[in-house]
């Protein structure tokens, strides 16, 4: 692999020999796997159990959600490009890619807000009178993911602000890598959600 970049983790002596921040991030992401595992399991468990409309096939717009998926995938690419720039100590370009990542994330969240609003107007509710199992499990799962994306955007913007203000350590690649790990995790969760929730067709209930 000739065209590669080299990155050194910050000097830190720990009993494991690994940077504690990075180890903690991976342990956190492992715990997040369990959280989303539980949410996805709940969605699949109750899939097709709704007895009242609207049903999945009545509200989903696969083409629209596919565009959102491409946007989130593109944001993962811009995130790693910001890491490449940070490793080359090209901090102006690093900030540019971080802002691009945040903007793509905002586009995704904006799309999700629009989707939720249109579903709500079609009668899909999370609770109260007129709600159904599909609405409750769908909003809970995708809503939790949307909140994670929003937190990621705040982390990205904080990173840009701190870099701009010169408040990041000399090796700016390390914090970018840590935020990047979180961001990519949000992306892989969406890969699973997109397949399980949107792409796998749900059998139509009888009489519809």
């Amino acid at each position: 692999m000739a065209d590669t970049t080299t990155h050194a983790a910050p000097a830190e002596h720990t009993s494991t020999g690994l940077p504690s921040t990075k180890l903690a991030m991976w342990i956190f992401l492992a715990s997040e796997c369990l959280l989303f595992g539980a949410l996805i399991t709940t969605y699949v468990l109750y899939r097709g159990s709704s007895t009242t409309p609207p049903y999945q096939h009545e509200v989903f717009d696969i083409a629209y959600t596919s565009v959102s998926s491409f946007v989130l995938l593109a944001s993962s690419l811009t995130m790693v490009l910001s890491l490449v720039a940070a490793e080359k100590r090209d901090f102006a370009r690093m900030r540019l890619w971080l802002v691009a990542t945040a903007l793509l994330g905002m586009t995704f969240v904006g799309g999700q807000v629009y989707e939720f609003t249109s579903f709500y107007h079609e009668g899909l509710k999370i609770g109260g009178p007129g709600s159904n199992l599909f609405g409750t499990t769908f909003y809970t799962l995708t809503g939790f993911h949307g909140v994670h994306v929003t937190v990621g955007i705040l982390m990205l913007l904080s990173l840009v602000g701190m870099s701009w203000a010169g408040r990041l350590p000399d090796d700016q690649a390390f914090p970018v890598e840590m935020v990047g790990l979180y961001w990519h995790f949000v992306d892989i969760v969406w890969i699973v959600i997109f397949t399980v929730v949107y792409l796998i067709p749900q059998p139509k209930p009888p009489g519809t």
């Binding site: 692999m1 065209d3 590669t4 970049t5 080299t6 990155h7 050194a8 983790a9 000097a11 830190e12 494991t16 020999g17 690994l18 940077p19 990075k22 180890l23 991976w26 342990i27 992401l29 492992a30 715990s31 997040e32 796997c33 369990l34 989303f36 595992g37 539980a38 996805i40 399991t41 699949v44 468990l45 696969i62 083409a63 596919s66 998926s69 491409f70 995938l73 593109a74 993962s76 690419l77 995130m79 790693v80 490009l81 890491l83 490449v84 890598e177 990047g180 790990l181 990519h184 995790f185 992306d187 892989i188 890969i191 699973v192 997109f194 397949t195 949107y198 792409l199 796998i200 067709p201």
Partner: protein, 117 residues
Amino acid sequence: MQELDRFHEEAGARGVADPREAGHARHTHPSAKEYVRIGMILVVLTGIEVWISYSGLPHGLMITLLFFFAFVKFALVVLWFMHLRFDDARYSRFFIMGFAGACILFLVVLLLFKAFA
């Protein structure tokens, strides 16, 4: 500071046989070109997934293919974008523990409530 840098360089040159040095040794990340290549593959795979969902294939085959492509995308992001392929194996172990836990939870709950219901 220079001494510390030299220590890291020497550790990188020696490899990471000593676990105390593993986390501090220099590790190699892919270049921008390789990242873009991976990104393009992800876009193509997503396109294929969307095509499959519209294709009208038999339900069982469709689900198998969709899960296969989702797993490939998942692995590409984790191994390249999150650098598990290039980093210390202990990070992978922690992540696999969480991921395996989620898969076990999924299978156990569905077996209990669907198959044996």
